[in-house]
Symmetry: C2
Subunit: 489 residues, 2 copies
C-alpha cells in the first residue's frame, strides 16, 4: 500500500517525477536527457497517437517518412530557421568505429570523417522541402497534405521526463498549397483538431491563440498554439500550427506552374504535437494518490478486483461482466493476481489512474451488488449487478466530462485580469499564478523586459480576444487587446 | 499510358527501382543511403506494421520506446556483439552548432565535444539490457515481453531502396525470461508469427530455418530465420528471431531472484522485421506492368473507374456499390479524376497494384453489368451488377490465395537438389538460380570457401530438414542433413 510519492503541496516537481516513475510511465536512461517510455506510458501514448492519426486522416492527410539526418548546410538555407535550430543538436561527424590499434578498445575511425556533418533532425522542414522540390511541378500536385510520426532530437541542457527531453516522439505535418488562403485555412484547421483532441480526449481545456513575433517558430510567418494551464498555475504549450508563408519554398526553390501557366512559389504550413502531451495529461488531472487518466485514453478503463481473491463463484460473474463490457467496446481487465491483498491492489490501480474499479466479493454477489469506485472523485457506491454494464458505460462518459469540467473550472479561476504592474507582480508570484490577462504595447522589448522582471512570457494572443482599448501593463503605451501571460513549462 | 519501366527480363535491378519509383513507394533523399518513404509506400507499410503489431499484442507483447542513442562503451560489453555492430555506424561526437567567427557560415562548435561518443542505434540490445537491469529483480518481474517500432541506422556502402538503406524502420522485440526453455519457446513462437504473417498476409512463401554459426546474429546463441525466394532466384532473409542465451544478461549484469531465492542470470531473445519486407513484397508478386499488392495489405483493394468519365447515372450506381463494399470492410476508391482518360487510369492503377478494378459505363449499366479486372492475372470479365459486392469479396480472397500459390509454385520449382560441386556451380550460375539443397560438412571454412567460389551462402538449415546421410558437396566429408544455399539480397 506504500504510496511513496511526494504530495503536490509539498513539492510539485517532485510529485510529477514520482508519478511518472511510480505509475510506470517513463524512466531516465543511460543517455543524458533521453527517456525510456515504459509499456504503460507507451500504451497511453499509442491511444493519443492513434486518435490524432485518425483525425488527420479524416481530414485528408497521409503519412510518410523522411530521413533522420539533415545535412548541416540545409539548416542555413532559411534565414530565420537557422537562427532557431542551428544551436543545441546532435551532430554526426563520423561513420565508423574501429579497434584502437593501441589496445584502447573501440574508437572512432578518424578516416571515416564525413565530408559534411549530419544533424539529427530537430524538426524536418528543411529535408522535407528539399524533397518537395522534386514532387511539386504543377498546381495539380497540390495540396500536399503529409504527416510523419517520428523521433526528433534537441540537445536540452535541463531535461524533465516527457516535458523536455533530448529525444522525443512527435508528429510533424508539412503541407504545401497553391494559395496563401488555403495554407492559412490549413493552419487553422489543424489548430482546431489539436484543440478538439485536447479537450474531448485529454479532457484538458485549452486556449487557442497566436504567438507573438518573439515566440514564433523559427521560419514561420505566424504561429498558432493551444495553451493549457497545469495544476500549479504554470502554462503548457500543448501544440503549435505554423503558417510558413513562402519562406521554405523560397529557401528550397519549390515552385509550381499555376493554372495560368505561371511559376509561383508554394505556400506552406507545419504543425506538431509531441510526447510532451503526456506531461500535460499528468499535470492536468492527477492527484496525490497517483495518475488520473481520462477514460477515452486509458489503456484499461475498468479493472475488476475479486474480494478477497478469485473464486469459482466470483470468476463466473466477472467473466459475464467482462463479456458485456467488451461487447460495448470497453477495455476491461480482471486482476487475478493471487499474491497481493485487495488494499494493495486498490492503491496500485489508483496509482495507474484506471478510471473505474469494481470490487466483487461473494457477500456482495449474494445481495446482487458490486462496489464501484471512480478514480476521479474516489467515490465508492454499491450498484446492482443487473445492468452494471450500462451503468459503467454511462459512468465512463460522466468521468470524462467531470475531468474536463473540473480542469476548466480550475483554469478559468486562474485567469486574472490585471491592469498595472504592481498587481502583475503580485499575481505572478502567487503559489498558483495562472494566466494573467493584461494589455501589452506590442513590442518585443516590453515582452522581454516583463520576462526578465517576472519570468512570465506571453503565452498567446487569444483568438477570441475582444478589441478593448487599454494601456500596456508595463509601459502604459496604448494597446487594443489583452494578451495572456504566464510562467510556463 | 506510358509505362516507362524496365522489364524484368531486360534488367531485374532496374525493374525493381523503376517499380519503387513509379508506384510512388519510396525515393532517394539528399542524405546518402537514406530513403524517403512516400505516402503510398507508407500506407502499405502501415498495413504491415498494424497487422504484425496486432499479432504481437495477441501473444502478450507490449510496446515501449528506448533511446535512439547508445553510448559507445555499451557496444563493447558483449564480446560477439561488438564485433558485429561496432563497424559502420553513425557517430555523434558534438552537440552544438555555432556561427563561424571567421564568417564561414554554420560550423560545429569545437567546445561541444561529447565526453563519450554516442552511436545511433544499429539495434538496441545493449541500451535495452542496460535498462532491464533496473526493471528486473525477481522471477515475479518475468517474463518481460517488449517490442518497439523504431528507426535504426547502419552505415551501408551500397544501398538499394527498402532492401538495404542506411536508415530503415523496423520492429525489434526484446524479451527476458526465467528459463532457457521459455526463451527458446518465445524465439520459435515469434518465428511462427513471422512465417504466418509472410504467408497469410504478404502471400510470400517462406522457409523456416536456423542460421549457421557464421550467419548468426552477433551475440546470439542461435538465430532462426524465414527465407523467401524472389522472382530472380535470389533469396531474401525476411525476418530473424534470436535466442540470446544469457549473453546480454551477463554483459549487463541482469540477474533475478528465482523461486528458490537464488540469483540467476536472465534468459533473452530478440527478433525483428523491417521495411526490407517492402522489397520482398515487390519482388515476390510484381510484374512488368507495375506493382502487385496482395489484397490483405493493399491500401486500396478496389478502384472504380467510370467509363468514359463520371456522370449522374454512373455516380449513383458507384455510390451504392461503394456503400455495399465498405459495409463488408473492403477498401474502395472511386476515381473521379476528370483530366485523364480511362486507359491512362487503368495503367496507373495497375502500376500501383490495386487488386481489383471495376470499369462502369452507361452501356454496361443498361445491361446490368460491370467489367471486373483482376490485377494478378490481368483477366477481365463482365459480371452482373446484382450481387457484385459478394463477387468482389470472394474475388479478393481468391486473388490473395492465387498470389501465394503462384509464388509457392515458383519457389518450389527453384529448389534444386544437388550432390556434387559441378552441378552446384551449374545451378548457381543459371539465370534464376533459386535455392540449392545440398549436403555440407558443417564447417565455417567450407561455407566460406563455397561463398568465395560461387557467391552462394547458406541461407539456413530448414527446420523440417530430414535426417539424411550424405557427403558435403565441396569436401565430401560426411553430413547428416541438407542445407539451403542461395545467392541472396
Ligand atoms: Zn494498475
Ligand atoms: Zn493508383
Amino acid at each position: 500500500m506504500a504510496k511513496e510519492i511526494t504530495s503536490r503541496s509539498e513539492n510539485y516537481s517532485d510529485w510529477y517525477i514520482d508519478i511518472v516513475k511510480r505509475a510506470n510511465l517513463a524512466d531516465n536512461s543511460a543517455v543524458r536527457g533521453c527517456m525510456v517510455i515504459k509499456p504503460y506510458g507507451f500504451a497511453i501514448w499509442e491511444n493519443i497517437r492513434d486518435q490524432l492519426d485518425k483525425m488527420f486522416k479524416e481530414t485528408g492527410h497521409v503519412n510518410a517518412y523522411f530521413p533522420l539526418f539533415i545535412p548541416k548546410s540545409f539548416l542555413s538555407k532559411e534565414a530565420q530557421h537557422v537562427a532557431g535550430f542551428a544551436k543545441e543538436c546532435a551532430v554526426v561527424t563520423h561513420h565508423r568505429l574501429m579497434n584502437d590499434p593501441d589496445g584502447g578498445g573501440i574508437i572512432v575511425d578518424p578516416d571515416s570523417k564525413l565530408e559534411e556533418e549530419l544533424i539529427v533532425r530537430p524538426t524536418s522542414e528543411t529535408i522535407i522541402w528539399d524533397t518537395y522540390r522534386t514532387w511539386i511541378n504543377s498546381y495539380r500536385d497540390l495540396p500536399l497534405l503529409i504527416n510523419q510520426w517520428a523521433n526528433v532530437v534537441r540537445w536540452e541542457m535541463r531535461t524533465r521526463l516527457f516535458l523536455r527531453t533530448t529525444e522525443f516522439l512527435w508528429q510533424e505535418g508539412h503541407t504545401a498549397h497553391a494559395t496563401k488562403e488555403e495554407a492559412v485555412e490549413e493552419t487553422l484547421k489543424i489548430l482546431d483538431i489539436y484543440a478538439t483532441f485536447a479537450e474531448e480526449y485529454m479532457a484538458m481545456p485549452v486556449i487557442r491563440g497566436i504567438k507573438t513575433a518573439n515566440e514564433r517558430f523559427a521560419g514561420a510567418e505566424e504561429t498558432y498554439c493551444i495553451e493549457a494551464l497545469m495544476q500549479d498555475g504554470k502554462a503548457l504549450q500543448a501544440g503549435t500550427s505554423h503558417f510558413l508563408g513562402q519562406n521554405f519554398a523560397k529557401a528550397f526553390d519549390v515552385k509550381f506552374l499555376n493554372e495560368n501557366n505561371q511559376q509561383e512559389y508554394v505556400w506552406a504550413t507545419s504543425w506538431g504535437v509531441s510526447t510532451r502531451l503526456m506531461g500535460g495529461l499528468i499535470m492536468t488531472h492527477s492527484d496525490d494518490d497517483g495518475l488520473v487518466v481520462p477514460p477515452k485514453l486509458a489503456p484499461t478503463q475498468v479493472v475488476i478486483v475479486p474480494i478477497p481473491k478469485p473464486s469459482p463463484v466470483i470468476d463466473e460473474v466477472v467473466h459475464k461482466i467482462m463479456a458485456a463490457l467488451k461487447a460495448k467496446g470497453i477495455r476491461v481487465k480482471y486482476d487475478m493476481d493471487m499474491k497481493n491483498r485487495p488494499g494493495f491492489k486498490f492503491a496500485e490501480h489508483e496509482m495507474h489512474g484506471i478510471p473505474v474499479r469494481l470490487a466483487i466479493g461473494e457477500r456482495d454477489l449474494a445481495n446482487g451488488q458490486v462496489e464501484v469506485a471512480r478514480r476521479d472523485t474516489k467515490e465508492k457506491t454499491q450498484q446492482p449487478l443487473e445492468g452494471i454494464e450500462q451503468y459503467i458505460e454511462d459512468l465512463l462518459v460522466e468521468i470524462q466530462a467531470n475531468l474536463f469540467n473540473r480542469a476548466k473550472a480550475m483554469r478559468d479561476q486562474y485567469i486574472t485580469k490585471v491592469d498595472n504592474f504592481n498587481d502583475f507582480e503580485e499575481v505572478i508570484n502567487r503559489d498558483i499564478p495562472g494566466f494573467i490577462s493584461a494589455h501589452w504595447d506590442g513590442t518585443t522589448e516590453t515582452e522581454e523586459k516583463i520576462k526578465e522582471l517576472t519570468k512570465a512570457t506571453i503565452r498567446c494572443i487569444p483568438l477570441d480576444a475582444e478589441a478593448e482599448d487599454g494601456s500596456c501593463v508595463l509601459t502604459g503605451k496604448p494597446s487594443q487587446r489583452r494578451v495572456l501571460f504566464a510562467k510556463a513549462y
